[in-house]
Symmetry: C2
């Protein structure tokens, strides 16, 4: 599935920036966690929080949805076949279904430039872009973890 690719070799300064950003987000994540914990009582407990987390991921937690989101966050906007090419491995049927669901859930907007030939652009809504931004540090962390992004020692 995934091609062998050159890793991205970034300057020590930029690598440091990435690490600092990621650490910053980790700290924010911990702080958010501890705020929630303070509100635990008879109603609000682990059960409540897990439920809320499952609900939070209800749209994202199926194959390709999160990748579509991340891709549109990277690329800004994209047409159907471009997305299909970028997301090597997705079938047009699945892409079509997922885009419909993302649109229904307010993450993506579908912009028809009526031709003919009809052209359709997909773009993140503000909500989708927020989600994309919030995902970005995790993606960066994983890129580094997978050796796709490395510090050059120049």
């Amino acid at each position: 599935m995934s091609f062998v690719r050159q890793p991205m070799s970034v300057s020590p300064e930029d690598f440091k920036k990435l690490e600092l950003s990621i650490n910053d987000v980790k700290e924010n994540g911990s702080e958010i966690r501890s705020i929630f914990e303070n509100y635990y009582d008879e109603e609000i407990d682990i059960d409540w929080e897990v439920d809320a987390a499952v609900e939070a991921f209800s749209i994202l937690s199926s194959r390709w949805t999160i990748e579509i989101l991340a891709t549109l966050y990277i690329i800004g906007e994209s047409r159907f076949n471009q997305l299909r090419t970028l997301l090597r491995g997705i079938s047009s049927r699945t892409l079509s279904d997922k885009l419909t669901k993302c649109t229904e859930n307010g993450l993506v907007e579908r912009l028809v430039e009526d031709g003919p030939p009809i052209r359709v652009k997909y773009r993140l809504t503000d909500h989708g872009r927020n989600a994309g931004k919030l995902l970005s540090p995790l993606v960066a962390y994983m890129k580094i973890k997978h050796g796709r992004v490395m510090r050059n020692n120049a």
Copy 2:
């Protein structure tokens, strides 16, 4: 699937803290994005970046994996049946398979307290906990978006 629940009503100060944290993460997300963009050339392009993102999500992008991660991040550690109860709706077969995959991928560790009766604890590895922290702001954002977390006007 999801029960009707009370929203979590947080103080204006804590709500402000949450908003500030989430915004902070958004800014970090944007900054990370722009760092990567600076390295675009013949090798490293949108195609490369989408590939790397797809790879980053290769473990997370299937039903339940991300929820298991978030749940273990919330609860710290958990036994099999406790996880199954918390993740209302998951089958034991699927939970078992997903935990195996998460363990194989270094996100989760499986700790056997040998009985009998044999007891097993699941806990995030450092890597898994990092991922959990990085996901936390997104979950908080979604909780607010879904009306599960609200500012009280006390």
